[in-house]
Amino acid sequence: MIDVAVVAFAQTPMLRRAGQLNEVELVMPVVSQALSRAGLTIADIGFTCSGSSDYLAGVPFSFVGALDAVGAWPPIEESHVETDGAFALFEAWVRLQEGDIDTALVYAFGKSSSGPLRELLSLQLDPYVLGPLWPDSVSLAALQARSALDAGRFTEADMARVAARSRRDALGNPFAQIKRDDDPGVLLDEPYLVAPLRRHDCPPITDGAVAIVLASGAAASSASARPAFIRGIDHRIEPHELGARDLTVSVSTAEAARHAGVADGPVDVAELHAPFSHQELILRAALGLGADVVVNPSGGALAANPMMAAGLVRIGEAASRIWSGAASRVVAHATSGPCLQQNLVCVLEAGW
């Protein structure tokens, strides 16, 4: 395998509503910042890949317009995934393994505020059997939380502690949307939103965009003083039918972690794409992370959850810990689909 590193990362301030900003206006600043931080222009980039969903924008081909933010002239080698940008990063990492190019630009955007998000995500469901019942995304997550609570995997107090820690850590993240310092005990006094989930167990609705630059070989060392090398990356999918899965665990995360080599060394920091508090607890167990691992120092998806971008943000945040010297081996995770159906795991390390 060719060593590929995350060398630059930029994100928008994460907002409840980005107002009249369109896709190009969301994406252009982060693409410019990420390229500039890597000391590159679009002309230097060997491959570009993005992640987004037409259903968020409510128009077909919303990524087509967003490409105008990149300045694809002369024409570029470019592709797009209709899912979280973390999977676009995987596609770019694969492309870099062919060795004929040494840089890639990855970006993702989600204007989650444009429609009724909870109901919209019901359209991800099997259109014949489950979809017509219109279970919304929060209700499905509540079913998962209930299963795990009933199985004794954790308690509502554990969930409240995850939520309180995430929003408190977000106080140190200038891009985060929800920043609060709450007592987990007090949070448990709040009413249920969809039992057993309280409002603090659920992610905010977030508009935002993210861009990352990947580089290999000499391009990595010239773009970053301390590149965050991708030591392993893998993703796995589970059945869509909720009744065919054990919702209290994440077998696809565990399998991806095995292939990505999470257990091959100590983990300093993990950035987990857990939109709901209980999902962080399920993911920690699946990844085999000990109590000493710092989880989601950015605040995670509970502090800002731009759809189709939040997973790629996790990779950028994890890499940032390596660049700053705060960590030397980190894990980033992204998810797609209801109740953690599909999961990607990426191990990043400092040094050559």
Partner: protein
């Protein structure tokens, strides 16, 4: 640097206006099972699955790869979803090929589909956009002015589009999978058909189809093992250019030129007309044949229509184009690009049946999308590069 990669299996559905007998999962499963059978592989042999389709709104299912994971045998495996507009079927094959060329996987299943009967594609493509005048009515409304511009630029006579339509519809009669089967197709029938978007007549237009296509790709050891007929990837790439850019030539896009140049370069092709034996090229409206003949370097600028008029692109011509009947005869949009890539493989493998061209050693598969700003191509050959 990149590993030898080959197409070892191809499957497709019989493309029709409405497949009311199958679900979306049933449709893609049908194509995938045929591709696996052709490759002499079973579901456990596949390392990863790549799914492509055009806008999710065509079926009303957001990110259908999630729902289709079980039907496509992807559970427990990596599954990727690609969406690059009309070129997506081609891009999906290329993403799958890259998984092997890079050495990440050994055997990959690529699937693309559209079940257009679930919606009205023309109006799904014409949703109102902020700050844009609502002037479009489907893809034909977008492309008709570009065709007019080509006709004026190349000084092309009015009847060339009719010739393409007749030729591709005659080819479709040799392809049992093709959607439109018009046994009494004739010049007069196309000429008399209603004008939809001047100069595009009804019979010069692609249909709306339900259909799926699947390709199995592998590394060399599997491809060379007994019982398989590989079509080797000699060159493959994609190119995109901006939508809103005054410097674009939408009639003869630079992204198409550049994509062809890099793919030909990889494949060692300097004269496509002489070195390519057959081509499956994305021609959703008849006039795009002469336009792409020029864009892809088969004809000098302004001469594409002369090649069409001379019959060079007929099945028995100098450079047969779209012997399967092409997009003009079957258009499950998300799969249309992959069908071009798959038909190129069938020709190289000698498995194209009644529309097989004799002695094919090198074939081009091509797809484009959006407003002619997304391109995906590959060149396949009968021997390992």
């Amino acid at each position: 640097m990149s590993n030898s990669t080959a197409v070892i299996g191809v499957g497709q559905t019989h493309h029709v206006a409405k497949r009311e007998d199958v679900s979306i999962a049933g449709l893609v499963r049908e194509a995938a099972e045929r591709a696996l059978a052709d490759a002499a592989l079973d579901w456990p042999d596949i390392d990863a699955v790549v799914l492509g389709k055009a806008p999710d709104m065509f079926e009303g299912v957001m990110m259908p790869e999630l729902y289709l994971a079980s039907a496509l045998g992807a559970v427990g495996k990596p599954m990727l979803r690609v969406h690059t507009a009309g070129s997506v079927g081609g891009s999906t094959a290329l993403v799958a090929a890259n998984l092997i060329r890079s050495g990440v996987h050994d055997r990959v299943l690529a699937v693309a589909f559209e079940k257009q009967s679930e919606s009205d594609a023309m109006w799904a493509l014409s949703s109102p956009q902020p700050f844009s005048p609502p002037l479009l009515a489907g893809a034909g409304g977008y492309f008709a002015p570009l065709i007019r511009a080509y006709m004026r630029r190349a000084n092309a006579p009015d009847h060339i589009g009719i010739l393409v339509a007749v030729k591709d519809r005659e080819h479709a009669l040799r392809n049992p999978y093709a959607h439109l089967q018009i046994p009494d197709i004739s010049y007069e029938m196309v000429e008399r058909s209603v004008m939809l978007w001047d100069p595009i007549r009804y019979l010069e237009t692609c249909p709306s189809s339900d259909g799926a296509c699947a390709i199995v790709l592998s590394e060399r050891d599997t491809a060379l093992s007994a019982g398989r007929k590989p079509a080797w990837i000699l060159g493959a790439s994609m190119r995109s250019e901006p939508t809103m850019f005054s410097g674009r030539d939408q009639v003869d896009p630079k992204a198409g030129h550049d994509c062809a140049a890099v793919v030909y370069g990889q494949a060692g092709i300097t004269d496509p007309l002489a070195q390519i034996d057959v081509a499956e090229v994305y021609v959703p409206f008849s006039w795009f044949e002469p336009m792409w003949l020029e864009n892809l370097g088969f004809a000098a600028p302004g001469d594409g229509w002369r090649m069409t008029e001379a019959g060079a692109t007929r099945l028995d011509g100098e450079i047969p184009w779209n012997c399967s009947g092409g997009v003009l005869s079957s258009n499950p949009i998300g799969a249309s690009g992959m069908l071009r890539f798959a038909e190129a493989a069938l020709q190289v493998r000698g498995l194209a049946g009644e529309h097989q061209v004799d002695g094919v050693r090198t074939a081009l598969g091509h797809a484009y999308g959006g407003g002619s700003q997304f391109f995906a191509m590959w060149v396949l050959g009968d021997s390992e590069p």
